[in-house]
């Protein structure tokens, strides 16, 4: 049975809180750019960008990063990862790149994303924002901004739905392993 973790209202509040933390932590908001990890991170990054804009009045650049080609489990997984588009239409050199993902789990996606990012330039620093941290890290990776920590068992699934059109449909669910 799936259980709701966050509803759309709570998600919105969480994103607002993270926005403020970002502003607090980064004195020069002009140096920040957002890069969402395909697919869940991209929509989340767009939400963050619009909130950042409404708070600071500054339009933050948003890119999409596909990490399929950088995964370390490419020959282990049953299903080959689908290659999606990477669209970072700006230079990340000397910027503070805020990597955005929906769920932080083993940390391997973030490792892949950092590898991918450095092929696009040399950022001044990389920060990490996630909506959900479900634990079970396999690499020494720590997020800078966390929406919510959720204890899970390894085989549970966490499903984040960020609706592109209608934010009232947003949800986070946990589907327990049988």
């Amino acid at each position: 049975m799936p259980r709701d973790i966050l509803n759309s209202k709570e998600i919105n509040k969480t994103i607002t809180r993270i926005t403020h933390e970002i502003i607090e932590k980064n004195k020069d908001i002009n140096k920040i750019c957002l890069v969402g990890i395909q697919r869940g991170g991209v929509l989340l990054a767009k939400r963050l960008a619009s909130q950042l804009e409404s708070v600071t009045g500054h339009k933050t650049e948003v890119g999409a990063l596909d990490i399929a080609l950088y995964r370390d489990d490419i020959y282990i997984k049953e299903e080959q990862p689908i290659v999606r588009s990477t669209d970072i239409p700006f230079s990340i050199s000397d910027k503070t790149v805020l990597l955005v993902d929906d769920v932080l789990f083993t940390g391997r996606s973030i490792r892949a994303a950092m590898d991918a990012l450095v092929d696009f330039g040399r950022p001044a620093r990389i920060q990490l924002a996630v909506l959900i941290d479900r634990g079970h890290r396999e690499l020494p990776i720590r997020p800078d901004y966390v929406g919510k920590n959720i204890p899970t068992s390894f085989n549970d699934r966490v499903e984040v739905n960020i609706d592109d059109k209608n934010s009232s449909e947003d949800s986070v669910k946990i589907i327990y392993a049988v």
């Binding site: 080609l69 950088y70 490419i74 299903e79 080959q80 290659v83 999606r84 588009s85 990477t86 696009f120």
Partner: protein, 306 residues
């Protein structure tokens, strides 16, 4: 993911497979636009190209594709030892497998060679052109190029002009385009038309003026110059007069028609220079796209589990 470990021809692919390759190629086009045009998914994989026919373009394209995927690529070339020493192709292929290759890219003048290697080897076999049978990656890159300009394949009028009988490029394109629902018109003299080609679902024309009308895509093929000496044609001049793609003829196609050629071109034989270099020509884009498509093929085949 593709079904087979090998890419033998378009004949063997479904429409879904073709779309999957094209969509995956989009991702690799992104890679090619970066400053650092290299990604790691084939790290530790070895690709061997085994070309029994000379080819600089296809081979270079595959080589770059493999390198940009971080694979190691080794070229077994026509002039290198064992081929010249008369070793059988089966033995050569088994040797390549024993050397630890994960992919073999094969070009051969005899149709069906990739198919027999596919049965013989456990590693992936990619057909880079076999006889007059198929050249699947060329057709895939052609479709990718058409799709980039026309946003779709279905319903397009595609005119293919040239030596259809001897052209594996034409064959692969015919299979691919008809599978995706394009209207294909083949245009050439009857001496260069494969027998019973109409059964493949294409329209047959002997007049370029008739065939090219309302075309969205005009594809000309290289005419092997030896066709004249073998008696297929009275002269190259007559061929150009009857079938050469000139700007006058191109006007019969749609205004926004694109002009394609798999290269290398014989200017003044199958295509006039002003057309080849004209605004409708996408010939050089085809070359660029070829790398992305071949990267996609290598990547997708690497994911096929036995």
């Amino acid at each position: 993911m593709l079904e087979s470990k090998d890419l033998l021809g378009i004949k063997e692919l479904s429409a879904d497979d073709i779309y999957h390759v094209l969509e995956t190629s989009d991702g690799f086009m992104d890679v090619l636009r970066r400053d650092i045009k290299k990604v790691p998914p084939l790290r530790g994989k070895t690709v061997v190209s085994l070309f029994y026919e000379p080819s600089t373009r296809t081979r270079t394209s595959f080589t770059l594709a493999a390198k940009r995927l971080s694979a190691d690529i080794v070229n077994f070339s026509l002039s290198s030892s064992s081929i010249v020493k008369g070793e059988s192709i089966q033995d050569t292929a088994l040797t390549i497998q024993a050397l630890g290759a994960d992919f073999v890219i094969i070009r051969h003048a005899s149709s069906g060679v990739p198919h027999s290697l596919s049965r013989l080897l456990n590693i992936s076999v990619i057909n880079a052109g076999d006889g007059a049978n198929e050249h699947p990656t060329q057709a895939l890159l052609d479709l990718f190029t058409i799709r980039a300009h026309k946003k779709k394949i279905e319903g397009l009028n595609v005119a293919i002009i040239g030596d259809i009988a001897h052209s594996r490029v034409a064959k692969s394109n015919i299979y691919a385009l008809t599978k995706l629902g394009a209207n294909v018109k083949v245009i050439c003299p009857p001496t260069l038309m494969p027998v019973e080609i109409g059964q493949l679902g294409v329209e047959v024309h002997h007049s370029i003026e008739d065939g090219i009308k309302k075309a969205d895509v005009v594809m000309t093929l290289r005419l092997q110059l030896e066709r004249q000496s073998k008696g297929f044609l009275p002269s190259l001049k007559e061929y150009f007069n009857l079938y050469g793609l000139t700007s006058e003829r191109l006007k019969l196609a749609k205004k926004d028609a694109i002009v394609m050629h798999p290269g290398p071109m014989n200017r003044g034989v199958e295509i006039a220079s002003d057309v080849a270099d004209g605004p409708q020509s996408v010939i050089l884009e085809q070359v660029t796209n070829g790398i992305a498509v071949r990267m996609a093929v290598l990547y997708l085949l690497s994911g096929v589990k036995e």
